[in-house]
């Protein structure tokens, strides 16, 4: 049963991310469900699970773009690892710290995707001011809502 629910979560969040990006993104700003959920999984199930799922989700995001295949896989893996390490110091089950960590990681993602572009494509990939400023807030909100849903779904 748990495997089934995990599979549904894995596919469902990818579908949600694709659908939101395609139909509901305004000025390039859309919540990064996959990143927020990777951090949430790291907070609830540990860094190893989060890294494996984050890597797969990253590959999914990478298949949707033409360049930098592996960039999102790398960043989501690192986000899962970092959040897994952080949960030993901070109580990430609480909504406030979780939202703060997601907010910081979102900014880190924005900068790091630029750096990855600089290293592998010789140009800093800047996602634009509106997404850069809005996305961290949207991600923090998403993580908070996802944590509530996670509890309601009866997941540990």
């Amino acid at each position: 049963m748990r495997i089934m629910r995990s599979f549904l979560l894995f596919v469902g969040v990818m579908l949600l991310q694709w659908w939101w990006n395609t139909h509901l993104a305004y000025w390039g700003a859309a919540p990064q469900f996959l990143l927020a959920l990777t951090v949430l999984i790291a907070a609830r199930r540990g860094s190893v699970t989060a890294m494996l799922i984050g890597f797969a989700w990253g590959i999914f995001v990478d298949t949707l773009r033409a360049d930098l295949f592996g960039a999102n896989a790398l960043l989501y893996t690192v986000a899962g690892y970092w959040a897994g390490m952080a949960r030993k110091q901070i109580d990430l089950r609480a909504m406030g710290p979780l939202a703060a960590v997601v907010f910081i990681l979102s900014w880190g993602y924005t900068l790091m995707i630029g750096v990855v572009g600089l290293v592998f494509q010789k140009s800093f990939l800047w996602i634009g001011w509106v997404p850069a400023l809005l996305t961290p807030f949207l991600n923090a909100l998403t993580a908070s809502v996802a944590a509530v849903v996670w509890e309601a779904w009866g997941e540990p």
């Binding site: 596919v11 990818m14 579908l15 694709w18 659908w19 395609t22 139909h23 540990g46 860094s47 190893v48 890294m51 494996l52 890597f55 990253g58 590959i59 999914f60 990478d62 298949t63 949707l64 360049d67 930098l68 295949f69 592996g70 960039a71 896989a73 790398l74 893996t77 690192v78 690892y81 897994g84 390490m85 990855v116 592998f120």
Partner: protein, 292 residues
């Protein structure tokens, strides 16, 4: 805890290395294969997602259509209740008419049995001449049955059946130059003959030479018409031709009330009724009510 940390370090190292390999060798064959494999696995998500989104996008419109249809259905049911009463009245009047005709020794009018048919085909070379419809002898359509069209709520004379096949028929339009129908002008009940011109307009000849004619006058089928029931709308006077001193009558140009080229469906007034259909009454309820 130490063991968990160690595993986490191994996994992050492994996945990071894998990601860096993917990033650093984007054009190598293994990386391209990996990307193709990932696309093969993940593409159905976006493909099926898009199909699902399209289906979902159509749902509000369908729900709206359903609600509109429900409202229309209620309105039509209300109208139908009223029409049932009108039908009873017409049947009663028809029977009364029949009794009176019999009492006065008048000839009985022939009954007609309307049937709707769809226009199947038009010959582009004979646009204003004829159309084919999807009702034939199987539905008791017979030669010279009058054919009407609908413009809004008004029934309009369109032509007559000139060829009957088992499942289809050919309708000769009023605009064909071989067509002619006895007609009268609404303002002065002046009789004449509306004839086709192989063009969008008809010409009405043989109008009394002394009569005053007006533009926009309505033209209806005459009771003397051999084919059409009386008082069916044909069109309006579009132009009064100057009087020809060598002729003893006047003529007008008639703009048909229904453009034959826009016909989608037609009403055929059949003169014979199938045995398959239930007989209405001894004398049918009469012809289709001619609009005025």
């Amino acid at each position: 805890m130490q063991r968990e940390n160690r595993i986490a370090h191994y996994v992050v190292g492994m996945l990071t290395t894998l990601s860096l390999v993917l990033l650093s060798m984007p054009l190598s064959s293994p990386v391209r294969s990996a990307k193709a494999l990932a696309s093969y696995i993940f593409d159905p998500i976006s493909y099926e997602g898009e199909r699902g989104a399209q289906k979902m996008a159509g749902v509000p419109a369908r729900v709206r259509e359903l609600l509109t249809a429900d409202l229309q259905n209620r309105i039509l049911q209300e109208e139908l209740r009223g029409i049932t009463w009108i039908k009873l009245t017409i049947e009663s009047l028809s029977l009364e008419n029949k009794r009176l005709r019999r009492a006065l020794g008048l000839k009985m009018s022939s009954g007609r049995h309307p049937i709707w048919a769809h226009v199947m085909e038009r010959d582009p070379l004979h646009w204003y001449r004829s159309v084919s419809v999807d009702a034939g002898s199987d539905l008791d359509v017979s030669l010279n049955d009058p054919v009407l069209g609908r413009n809004g709520d008004v029934l309009v004379a369109v032509g007559r059946v000139v060829e009957v096949r088992p499942r289809t028929s050919t309708v000769l339009l009023l605009s064909d130059e071989r067509s002619a129908v006895a007609a009268y002008l609404s303002s002065a009940t002046l009789e004449g003959l509306a004839q086709g011109q192989d063009s969008p307009h008809l010409r009405m000849n043989y109008i009394n030479a002394e009569a005053k004619l007006f533009l926009g006058d309505f033209i209806y089928t005459s009771p003397t018409s051999a084919t059409f029931p009386p008082d069916v709308l044909i069109g309006r006077v579009a132009k009064v031709y100057p009087r020809d001193p060598f002729l003893t009558f006047q003529a007008v140009e008639v703009a048909p009330f229904l453009d034959a080229t826009s016909l989608q469906e037609v009403l055929i007034l059949r003169t014979r009724q199938s045995e398959r259909e239930p007989a209405a009454e001894e004398e049918p309820a009469g012809t289709e009510q001619a609009p005025r």
